[in-house]
Symmetry: C2
Subunit: 348 residues, 2 copies
């Protein structure tokens, strides 16, 4: 281990505590358990099936899937803990200090595909890496509605912001814009949904934004802050724990207030069509998915994120002045959802 450094241009800030791996693993497993319990209760019809698996190079995981439920057409919640001799080149490019060192990684991820087009799809992922002299946390959560309910997007973002604000007043703004940058389908010129928060390479140095867009809003906002004071492992661990605890209060109220709304073929067809964008994002852009598929990840666990039924339709465009058009015009573009105020109309 090299000497400790505290400037933001290096990756090493403070040593993790001796029991760091176990503590994060327990957080991730506890998160999986707690979320699965709550989703089963909400669903009311189906329950999770678990597949425990091992990875030849080291480690393993437990994949849980709930299929054909009352609320969820499919819900997948994965926990994994893996180790090996070398991080893949795509990660080493961002963390050159890890080169030549073994690595440890643990995380929990989920994607929920509700049956009702009025309940949004949601994705969560929190993860932790150690590799030689470096360690970092990453993750986030983002919401993909099919129909435009501004109060849902506002509730989701406000809950995330409250969770972030409890740890640092600047976290939400940087990580919200980073999320808008990351979940973007360039070939459609659309966001995947209304976003949420996303962060990576949180290693205790003062640099919040470490994404690929030096001119993007997250970078601009992060740079404007200057460099934060270095943060300890404990501070960032507590932040990730806090974030993970906001998931259920951010999502469950939305699912509950939409699940009994009736819908017809039009809404179902639009949902199936929009699910195609989820597939396109995950297979074309999502680095975790692509990396997993091209190496030796467990394919069935990686592709649990794909929707159970999907439509593509050549050259579809929503009719003007419809809820579907409103989704495209307002909800698939970056918005400051925390500032939304209810008006006489349901939608903004």
């Amino acid at each position: 281990m090299t000497a400790l450094k505290t400037d933001a241009t290096t990756n090493v800030n403070s040593l993790p505590p001796a029991e760091s791996r176990d503590r994060v693993k327990q957080l991730m497993q506890h998160l999986q358990d707690k979320i699965c319990d709550a989703l089963e209760e909400l669903d009311g019809v189906s329950s999770f099936r678990e597949d425990a698996w091992e990875r030849e190079e080291g480690g393993g995981g437990r994949s849980r899937v709930l299929s054909e439920g009352g609320v969820f057409e499919q819900a997948g919640v994965n926990f994994s803990e893996v180790w090996g001799e070398q991080l893949p080149p795509s990660i080493l490019a961002q963390r050159p200090e890890a080169k030549g060192h073994g690595f440890f990684a643990t995380g929990t991820s989920l994607v929920l595909h509700p049956r009702s087009p009025y309940i949004p799809t949601v994705h969560l992922n929190y993860r932790y890496f150690e590799a030689g002299p470096v360690w970092w946390f990453g993750g986030g959560v983002d919401l993909t509605p099919y129909y435009p309910f501004a109060e849902d997007a506002a509730h989701f973002h406000r809950t995330l912001k409250a969770g972030c604000d409890a740890h640092h007043p600047e976290y939400y703004s940087v990580f919200k814009h980073w999320c808008d940058e990351y979940f973007y389908l360039k070939h459609r010129q659309e966001m995947r949904g209304v976003g949420g928060i996303f962060f990576d390479y949180q290693d205790g140095t003062g640099a919040l934004y470490r994404g690929p867009h030096p001119d993007g809003p997250a970078a601009a906002y992060s740079n404007k802050l200057g460099v934060l004071e270095p943060r300890s492992w404990e501070e960032i661990f507590a932040f990730v724990q806090g974030c993970s605890e906001t998931f259920l209060p951010a999502y469950l109220p939305i699912a509950k207030r939409r699940r009994d709304m009736s819908y017809g073929d039009r809404e179902r067809n639009f949902q199936l069509y929009r699910r195609g964008r989820y597939v396109e994002f995950n297979l074309v852009y999502d680095r975790g998915t692509i990396f997993g598929l091209q190496t030796n990840g467990r394919t069935e666990s990686i592709l649990m994120s794909l929707p159970p039924l999907v439509r593509w339709q050549y050259s579809y465009h929503p009719e003007p002045n419809t809820p579907e058009a409103e989704l495209y015009e307002i909800f698939l573009k970056p918005q400051e959802w925390v500032k939304w105020k209810p008006s006489t109309s349901e939608n903004i």
Copy 2:
């Protein structure tokens, strides 16, 4: 233009004729017309809708889609002719002589998604490039059945082989193995279907195989041949024209003999599930699709290849001793289909 070279290690063999671009363009447009006419006649219910489009950087195309037909759930047939100042880096890596030169490219591609699970999905693409001192042809055709009819796979391959054999006795073997290499889903350890033929960078030099697998069967077979005599532009043009003419006789008889077979939910569900592999291949591996999406291709034309309705199902495995299992065990692995002989049973 640099001096002509004829050894296989360079890319320049002979000059194309003065009217090369127009002749290939006419071949490609004629191919699109002829195939669309035949497919409409076969379908009997629906007809093609055409969208003509232009490309800002130069050129354009005509995209034709037949939807909700009698035989075809969706059929997409694209023609395009484009030019620009520079080929993308992914192609320049293979054709360094083209660097700093403008380029011209024209081609026709199609993907047919039949309604009946007993009719295979099929893909065709033929294309031609000129860029500074280099020119080359590429393309191929491959068949993706959902149910295992060995006589269909054998008919398809024999028709392609006859088309190849009319031009060179070694073409079929090299391009058949290259096709097996290319249409392979590493993360599933499956071929996309029963293959067909695939080739790229046919520039008149004597090297047939120019793929990425120096130890693969196509390379091994090609190397065993030594280097062929250099071929003229006219020879390769005639070969591509010949290949393109084998498409209808290779595919139509299969569609015709399967279209009236009745099927149920089981077969339909399996078809929708297997269509997911088509999506995975096109979005994760297909270089043309990925390149098109990441640059300024016409997204709706590129993604016309995706099926209209698709299922994913966590951890699906076919029951042993079923037609679905036979597809996995025999048809999704490389086979010498031209050697198949009918036995008392329909399937091998």
